[in-house]
């Protein structure tokens, strides 16, 4: 069976990255959680509190911070590790030499990123639930966070196999990732933006992840249009990764 082969092979591909993650757990905990927790405290209590709505604002941004964590815990680490394995260790070549499906390589290289998200989001949720006792986490929220982690891990993997220099990766981070961090409805409602800006922001995937997590944690509903956008991005990133590997263009 193709699908069982791919699932089995994905774990085999991921094993090395999971070993690396396990032996660097403290670093993973710090890099994946300090940033989002700082946002939660600085923006929630600092800015929110100074405007007189501290706890309400913290409750508003908690889903946004969780959405943000799925990006920050995956993109830079997956992309950088892939790039290093490809250009400096050359160990990425070994994956291309093994008798495994291309789909398994793509999925496998995202699993460590998803594991980081599970760790980061668990800690953020723990802290968030202490700060916002009313915060509810349901199955929909967990599934959306996992889907988002998969999507952004794919984006990181795509960047890692597509670029030729570490500088390009820094450029992508500065031009795409950082703006997404602040503008995609994580810290404020996108509807507050001018319509032209909102229409641009609405194209970006993190906007829809924020929307999905906020709805799931609030009303328990899952907006189908945002879900469709996330699926389209996931399929697009997966397809591009698959194509680059299958045609030896990485």
């Amino acid at each position: 069976m193709w699908i069982t082969d791919v699932i089995d092979e994905s774990y085999r591909v991921a094993w090395g990255d999971l070993c690396h993650l396990k032996s660097n757990l403290l670093e993973v905990l710090l890099t994946g959680t300090v940033g989002p927790l700082l946002y939660l405290l600085a923006f929630g209590y600092g800015i929110g509190g100074s405007m007189g709505g501290g706890e309400e604002y913290v409750a508003f941004i908690l889903p946004g911070i969780l959405a943000l964590a799925t990006l920050s815990a995956t993109f830079s680490t997956v992309s950088m590790r892939t790039l290093i394995q490809r250009l400096f260790y050359m160990s990425f070549d070994e994956l291309l030499l093994c008798p495994i499906h291309v789909s398994a390589v793509v999925v496998g290289k995202t699993l460590a990123g998803m594991a980081r998200v599970v760790i980061s989001c668990s800690i953020i949720l723990l802290v968030g639930c202490l700060i916002v006792p009313d915060a509810s986490v349901n199955v929909q929220t967990v599934l959306i966070l996992l889907l988002s982690a998969f999507m952004f891990s794919l984006l990181g993997f795509l960047a890692g196999i597509a670029v030729r220099r570490t500088n390009t990766l820094s450029l992508i981070s500065a031009v795409v990732i950082v703006p997404m961090t602040f503008l995609c409805g994580t810290l404020f409602d996108v509807s507050a933006l001018p319509s032209w800006a909102a229409s641009v922001i609405n194209v970006l995937p993190l906007t829809h992840v924020s929307e999905l997590v906020r709805s799931a944690m609030g009303s328990g509903t899952v907006p189908s249009d945002s879900l469709a956008v996330v699926f389209v991005y996931t399929a697009l990133f997966f397809g591009l990764c698959w194509y680059l590997i299958r045609t030896n263009r990485c």
């Binding site: 160990s91 070549d93 030499l97 495994i100």
Partner: protein, 300 residues
């Protein structure tokens, strides 16, 4: 003559068949219409200067690099249409050690075993003894980044052979190694070959090719200049060499027979000269164009 590639292995029991392989990077042609076969059970070498196209050819044959055109068949499987089947039969230790520096030697070996779907029981009974045999036991729990070049190379070769490939590709396997490590690797290549593994290596060490290989292909500027056994290649340029020392320069001529070489040496009169067997380095210099000091009267 072998320089027309008439002894390229075609028609024999071939395990690697390469037909009209071309690899271009933009305007630069790294491999230019190369055709040759590697026979099952032999040790075959690509000999060539830096930048000749050896590594690109190996990377293309082993499916890492995309070919611009041409066809490669590994053990009966076309690498374009039966990629996974071809890969199951390939092992490669690349010129640059392609291990994950941030993992330990044991983790790298285990990961390779997992990628090749080697069961855990077989990993313990067959794979770990390979690592032990290469002396890796004391280094298994150390990170690859902490090892010297020789130990990294041994770990890489362990990873390359643990799935018992039909054909093992070794790209500059002894580059940067000390003499002792080189000889250990030579012994390993001989042992693997004796066990039935076909070995395809690239090198620019003439003594290595001469010591290990059944057949040698000389590649220059992306093209195969000559292919054959060491004796055949030697025969093609003249199996006997006369070296004439004139000041700081040494002029050489090749000769078809020992008598011819001696007669030529005697005809030179009272000059310092040496008659000897032509070696692979002589062949290589002649064929790859590095023969600026070779007398054009040489017998071919």
């Amino acid at each position: 003559m072998t320089s027309d590639c008439s002894n390229d292995g075609m028609g024999k029991d071939s395990i690697v068949e390469v037909s009209d392989l071309t690899v271009r990077f933009g305007d630069f042609t790294a491999v230019d219409g190369v055709s040759f076969n590697v026979r099952r059970g032999e040790v075959f070498a690509f000999l060539g200067p830096n930048g000749a196209g050896k590594t690109t050819t190996i990377r293309t044959i082993t499916t890492i690099q995309r070919a611009t055109s041409g066809r490669v068949v590994i053990d009966g499987f076309d690498i374009d249409t039966h990629r996974l089947e071809a890969r199951r039969r390939i092992g490669i230790a690349q010129q640059h050690i392609s291990l994950d520096n941030e993992l330990t030697v044991a983790q790298n070996i285990r990961h390779h075993a997992m990628l090749h779907k080697i069961p855990r029981s077989e990993y313990r009974t067959r794979v770990l003894p390979i690592a032990s045999g290469l002396g890796l036991d004391p280094y298994m729990s150390r990170r690859v980044s902490d090892l010297s070049g020789g130990w990294k190379r041994r770990a890489a070769i362990t990873c390359a052979i643990l799935h018992e490939p039909s054909v093992l590709f070794l790209d500059e396997p002894t580059a940067g190694l000390d003499t002792q490590s080189r000889h250990i690797l030579w012994d390993l290549v001989r042992d693997l070959n004796a066990g039935g593994t076909t070995v395809f290596l690239t090198t620019h060490y003439m003594d290595e090719a001469e010591a290990l290989c059944d057949r040698v292909a000389i590649i220059s500027s992306g093209r195969i200049s000559a292919i054959g056994t060491v004796d055949e290649l030697r025969e093609s340029v003249g199996p006997y060499t006369v070296e004439v020392t004139e000041g700081s320069k040494v002029a050489v001529t090749r000769h078809p027979t020992l008598e011819d070489a001696r007669a030529y040496a005697e005809s030179l009169g009272d000059v310092l000269c040496n008659v000897r067997l032509t070696n692979l380095e002589d062949v290589f210099l002649d064929i790859s164009g590095g023969k600026c000091l070779v007398d054009h009267r040489c017998h071919r």
